[in-house]
């Protein structure tokens, strides 16, 4: 059930899939302080470059999240634990553990979603759900009816307001959100017109950080869909984006980031937190 990530590592004290390392640490069968994280990172970079052109964006981003958490965890563990008498330090330690546990939980549900997809997409058994034959329908016991028009209007009002609630604009309370899907459409249109543009030019008119982030994410989606290619002459140099999608205006499967991105990166209102 655990999807093999394909990424295996060889350390002094551990050899095997990255997922297994994670599993051992979580079960306290291996001490995170004994893991040379720089070696893990080196191996991952080697793995990525060996599979050039073939590597999986989601795998890479997942690695980043996991590695960052491990780093956090390790930093916390390396604190002299015997002498923690500051309550804040202790809370910090617990927070790190909690973060790690959350990460594992998130990963587990992510994996389970693959299994669910298989179950939902498998051959279906359709339930028998046919109208009752008229001679049986006649047998239905007489309704006991006590519903007044006022009851009905209340029920209708309840149903209609439920429909509206998720769509209610909160624009006056929070900054409006940026849709990655919309930005993808805008970015594609510009690139189709110009052939190639620098990233700098693509975000020149962005008036918020959120818009820049959304356009960057939309480029990643377009890249995954092979609609664009990237060129970067020097490390940290200008990034040139080239349209490779032809005139095809077909559906781009941009996965919307739920609720869109907050315009201001620090706007905690839009992101669930504890």
């Amino acid at each position: 059930m655990t999807e093999p990530t394909g990424f295996s590592i060889t350390l002094d004290n551990f050899e095997g899939p990255f997922d297994l390392l994670l599993s051992l640490i979580s079960k306290h069968e291996m001490e995170v302080t004994e893991v040379a994280l720089s070696a893990v990172t080196d191996e991952f970079l080697a793995f990525i470059s060996a599979a050039q052109g073939e590597w999986d964006l989601s795998e890479a981003s997942e690695f980043l999240v996991v590695a960052a958490t491990l780093l956090d965890l390790k930093a916390a563990r390396l604190l002299p634990s015997g002498e923690v008498d500051d309550l804040e330090d202790l809370e910090l330690l617990e927070a790190r553990d909690l973060l790690f546990a959350r990460l594992l939980q998130y990963k587990a549900f992510k994996e389970m979603s693959g299994t669910l997809r298989e179950m939902l997409d498998g051959p279906r058994a359709a339930p028998r759900n046919v109208a009752m034959e008229p001679h049986f329908a006649l047998l239905l016991p007489e309704l006991r009816w006590s519903t007044t028009p006022e009851d009905l209007v209340r029920l209708a009002a309840k149903a209609f307001s439920r429909d509206d609630s998720p769509e209610v604009s909160l624009a006056h309370l929070h900054n409006p959100k940026v849709s990655v899907r919309e930005q993808a459409a805008l970015v594609s249109a510009r690139l189709r017109r110009s052939g190639s543009l620098s990233f700098r030019a693509l975000v020149a008119d962005a008036d918020h950080l959120g818009v820049v982030v959304a356009r960057f994410l939309s480029l990643l989606e377009l890249f995954r869909d092979r609609r664009v290619s990237f060129e970067q002459a020097a490390s940290l140099g200008d990034l040139t984006v080239r349209w490779t999608g032809g005139d095809d205006d077909g559906d781009l499967q941009v996965e919307e980031f739920e609720g869109g991105l907050p315009l201001e990166a620090a706007d905690g209102e839009n992101v669930a937190h504890d």
Partner: protein
């Protein structure tokens, strides 16, 4: 296709369709000659009705189409099940669906489902079986539903104009936005 597979495919389709299906339509779906389909349907009908071991379902030809029905041999048990099993009050879900239809008619099943946020297929069947709603038209290939005279009689109204205005019951918009 083997005989068993032809029979199986026919049973599968006929078990879940609501309306009688013509042998021609079945033949197209099965990619089999119509005669084979018709022959198999007749064999199935006879098999289910075998006097030594009659099934509780029967396959009947109605107006040139075929459909599974509950066998008349067991009508007494089915009748008892319907009378005793069904509650004589509409469920909350059914009432809410009815209210939505009353105010939004003519309305399609999909629209009702979207408003209520849940699948309403089985609740709609109940309301149809109770004669409280009926098909009143078609829009973009989807059936539209509305309330019936029976509904008016039940609620004691002489026409839909007597439905109370919805607006005063809707939550104040400012209240919602302030949440």
């Amino acid at each position: 296709m083997t005989d068993v597979r032809v029979r199986g495919a026919l049973e599968a389709v006929l078990m879940v369709v609501d309306e009688p299906v013509s042998p021609e339509d079945l033949a197209v779906a099965l990619e089999q000659p119509t005669e084979i389909v018709l022959e198999t349907l007749r064999a199935m009908r006879d098999e289910y009705a075998d006097p030594d071991s009659p099934r509780g379902f029967e396959l009947r030809e109605v107006d040139g189409g075929w459909r599974f029905y509950s066998s008349r041999l067991y009508a007494d048990v089915v009748g008892r099940f319907i009378i005793e099993g069904q509650t004589s009050k509409l469920s909350q879900a059914a009432l809410e669906t009815l209210a939505v239809i009353a105010y939004r008619q003519p309305v399609t099943r999909g629209q009702v489902s979207q408003i209520r946020g849940v699948n309403v297929d089985s609740v709609m069947k109940t309301l149809l079986a109770r004669g409280l709603v009926a098909e009143v038209g078609e829009f973009g290939g989807a059936l539209q539903y509305g309330t019936t005279t029976e509904f008016l009689e039940r609620t004691g109204m002489s026409s839909l104009d007597e439905l109370p205005a919805l607006a005063p019951y809707l939550p104040d918009l400012d209240d919602i936005e302030a949440r």
